[in-house]
């Protein structure tokens, strides 16, 4: 019996807790999508998509731990890299001469 299958209380295992937490993070990400759709300036949208991508990384990590699939962590690493590059690239391209960082 591995750790993920250990019962915490009332029949709920660690995997159940991680899956419910992943669902909660998904709900929070959907809430942030409102700012990405509405946000008056373009930087608001970039910021909302950046935060949403961070939430996606956490969801991928939680799924990797709950379902016992370590390859999801590789996907999460690549997603975090692309998320950071997206935010930096868009904020550089929107400014004249691109002197952001």
């Amino acid at each position: 019996m591995t750790l993920v299958d250990a019962t915490i209380v009332a029949g709920y295992t660690v995997a159940d807790v991680l899956l419910y937490a992943a669902a909660g993070f998904a709900v929070l990400a959907i809430g942030m999508l409102y700012r990405a759709v509405k946000g008056p300036t373009m930087q608001d949208r970039v910021l909302a998509v950046n935060v949403l991508g961070t939430n996606t990384v956490v969801i991928l990590g939680l799924l990797a731990a709950a379902l016992g699939e370590p390859t999801f962590l590789d996907v999460a690493l690549v997603y975090a890299l692309l998320n950071f590059l997206m935010a930096i690239a868009i904020s550089k391209f929107t400014v004249e001469r691109g002197g952001v960082l």
């Binding site: 700012r35 956490v58 990590g61 370590p70 904020s91 960082l101």
Partner: protein
């Protein structure tokens, strides 16, 4: 049945997951309700980094050091470095584009 050290580990996993959910919720409320892009960048860089850090710490505790735990810790460190950097870049791009910061009495944007 699981022994004592495993009980502590499971308890820490549950506590970290709940703390991560709480701080991500704080970050969502901030991103939705704060009045302009600079204050939103502030909450996105601080609260969301802490929430993601707690969530990934729970993942690292679950998968264990002998498995893919190293990748998970690497991911945690990477998020801690890059998330505030990205928020800083976005806020600076907003400033260079000429967005005036919100002050008290202004209309919410």
């Amino acid at each position: 049945m699981i022994d004592a050290i495993e009980t502590v580990r499971v308890g820490l996993i549950v506590v970290f997951v709940l703390l991560g959910l709480f701080f991500s919720f704080v970050s969502m409320v901030g991103v939705l309700r704060l009045p302009d892009v600079y204050s939103r960048a502030h909450t996105a860089s601080q609260a969301d980094t802490l929430g993601a850090g707690f969530g990934l710490a729970a993942v690292a505790l679950t998968v264990g050091w002998e498995g893919a735990g190293f990748k998970s810790v690497l991911l945690l460190f990477f998020i801690f470095v890059t998330n505030p950097t990205a928020a800083h870049g976005i806020a600076r791009a907003a400033f260079e584009e000429g967005i005036v910061p919100w002050t008290e009495g202004d209309e919410r944007r």
